[in-house]
Amino acid sequence: MTREKTSVTALPEPEIEYEEPALFGLMAEFEEHEQLLAAARRAYAEGYRRMDAYSPFPIDGLAEALGHENSPIPLFTLAGGIVGGLGTYFMEWLAMAKLYPINVGGRPLNSWPNFIPVTFELTILIASISAFLGVFLLNRLPEPHHPVFNVPEFERASNDRFFLCIQADDPKFELSQTRKFLESLAAAKVVEVEQ
């Protein structure tokens, strides 16, 4: 009994460091898309850069308000179209004029008008595939999990609410000040997003 007591008292008080769950950012919820757009503009003007906005439908000018440049998807598509068009014509010429030449009514082996339909179709196909894959590549999808899904309210981002999330790794991020700033933006709610 005594021994136990002494041993307990002899132990040093354990210094437990309660680690706060790492913070991903602060998220403000809005009811209307105009509010989100205005908030994004204000946040950008305030100097925040590492942030993202979430909405249930595309909002004109939102990406620009957050400081994103134009999407490179059109360039992807153009490149795909050029590669598809030239590549297809080359393949047809190779097959019909070089590898497997067939003389049809004495017409030239490189009978280009006949090669146009397939060239056209495959130009469209490769350009479309480039645009389609570009969306996944640039958006880093599939990405089944992301910290914003930790917020229970966030399931309304695909329904009827609009969110602005300022990330904790933004150089200007300071928990209390950023919270105050977001609350000043007519947000319905401001919540912390865990990592």
Binding site: H68, A95, F115, G134, P142, P144, E155
Partner: protein, 471 residues
């Protein structure tokens, strides 16, 4: 700039269940009380809660039985060969190619609605584009099978594709039949990508609304973890618009290429320069009719009148009427050119078409495709569900008959009277056609059961536009 779409003032009309414009046309594009949350609940609720399970199961059982018949017919075909069909020489194409052209034509409405009307800012397309795109995919699947089954040896279909094979053979790129392979497969793939890009954000809505774990997982995987960030939307919208732009010439090219299968041949009745535009118009004609035939029962059953409004149906009916007149122009030109060319074979073909052995089919075609659709001049018919349904049905049957006339009647009397012959379909021909309809309906039923059938995203955009007073 104010366009005719959605800028007219709305007026209540006591004699009609919907508000009208000054000219008396239905005004609403989306029900008046809709909010973001309401459309999300309503549309995502169909795959999640599955209303009307008995009705759905009954339809699925019928469609599934037809599909099983199709499997039997195809199995027997692979076992026996194309001799089980009624085809012969000279009528080598018969039902298979008729069905092919019919199905691919039906498939044209989807891309027309989603791509061309997108570029033209026709906002009434918003609530019907998803369903029609799905219809396109399934119709093209049905279409694609028929030429392959008709090959005789379908298991070597890959010989149609260019690849460096051990026999050192290449497809003949000068042949319209090879162009067809590329046109149809491109059309299918581009439609699929366009459709998937559109459906991805809506699958995210279903994921977030799902209550059970497995539904969350399955919809979560199928939407790729979409979270609607501004960057996501930016790339998504850019690609969506570009795909719309790319699909626009594509949709016009596909049926043009299909028409080259006929027009490049020397046969009277086929060898005609009007075929590409005439085929494209006919494709959109039958496609819109098929959309009407599907939308009218679906919107009634699932109570989607607030989203798929009478105005949408009215607009669809107007497009049907206009493309119908393009098709009628095609018929007139065919007859005129036969007379004007003074070519004895052309003249005989035209005479035989109207008064020969298949004359009754031709006059049936005229009735179904040219006479009955004139009912659409009446606003009462255009805004009456049941009447519109039957007019659309007449167009669908009519367009199938049109392809039958083009394929069979043209082939059965060619240049040399000694080779003239009749074509009679066998029971396998009929089963294969009905079976393909079963397969189409089965896929469509699975789609409306498991996937949001109206674009939730774009419906929200309509609501946002109306809030801003732009609708």
């Amino acid at each position: 700039m104010d366009t005719i779409q959605g800028s007219e003032p709305r007026m209540p009309d006591p004699s009609k269940p919907y508000p009208v414009t000054v000219l008396g046309y239905p005004a609403e594009m989306i029900g008046p009380k809709e909010t973001y949350a309401r459309v999300s609940d309503q549309i995502a609720g169909i795959p999640l809660k599955h209303p009307h399970p008995k009705f759905w199961l009954t339809c699925f059982a019928i469609a599934g039985s037809l599909f099983l018949m199709f499997c039997v017919a195809v199995g027997y075909l692979l076992f026996k060969g194309v001799g089980i069909w009624g085809i012969n020489i000279p009528i080598a194409w018969g039902f298979a190619i008729t069905n092919f052209v019919w199905w691919i034509g039906i498939g044209h409405a989807g891309t027309f609605i989603s791509a061309i009307l997108l570029l033209l800012h026709q906002k009434w397309r918003t609530t019907i584009n998803r369903l029609t795109e799905a219809m396109t995919l399934f119709a093209v699947m049905c279409a694609g099978m028929f030429p392959l089954l008709h090959l005789g040896r379908p298991w070597v279909f890959f010989w149609l594709l260019p690849y460096p094979d051990t026999m050192k053979l290449w497809p003949q790129f000068r042949s319209p039949l090879v162009w067809d392979v590329f046109a149809v497969s491109t059309y299918f793939l581009v439609s699929l990508m366009f459709w998937y890009l559109g459906v991805m954000p809506d699958l995210a809505t279903v994921r977030d609304k799902a209550k059970t774990k497995w539904k969350k997982i399955i919809y979560g995987i199928s939407c790729m973890g979409w979270r609607g960030s501004a960057r996501h939307w930016q790339h998504h919208q850019s690609a969506y618009l570009l795909l719309g732009g790319l699909a626009t010439p594509l949709v016009l090219s596909v049926h043009s290429v299909v028409s080259f299968d006929f027009a490049v041949a020397q046969l009277p009745g086929w060898h005609s320069t009007i075929f590409p535009p005439y085929f494209v118009a006919g494709a959109i004609y039958s496609g819109f009719a098929m959309v009407l035939n599907l939308l009218i029962p679906i919107r009634r059953l699932y109570r989607l009148q607030n989203l798929i409004t009478t105005r949408t149906l009215n607009n669809m009916a107007c497009v049907t009427l206009v493309t119908g007149w393009m098709v009628i122009y095609g018929y007139i030109m065919e007859a005129f050119m036969a007379w004007y060319s003074n070519d004895p074979f052309e003249k005989h073909m035209m005479w035989d078409r109207a008064f020969g052995s298949y004359g009754w089919v031709f006059w049936g075609l005229m009735l179904l495709n040219c006479v009955i659709p004139q009912l659409l001049w009446s606003r009462r018919i255009r805004t009456h569900d049941l009447a519109l349904f039957f007019v659309a049905l007449s167009v669908n049957v009519g367009m199938w008959v049109e392809r039958f006339v083009i394929v069979v009647q043209s082939l059965h009397h060619d240049f040399v009277p000694s080779s003239w012959k009749m074509y009679y379909p066998t029971k396998w021909d009929v089963i294969t056609l009905l079976g393909s309809i079963g397969m189409f309906l089965m896929l469509l039923l699975l789609f409306i059961r498991y996937v949001p059938m109206i674009s939730i995203t774009e419906s929200r955009e309509l609501i946002a536009l109306r809030r801003e007073g732009q609708l």
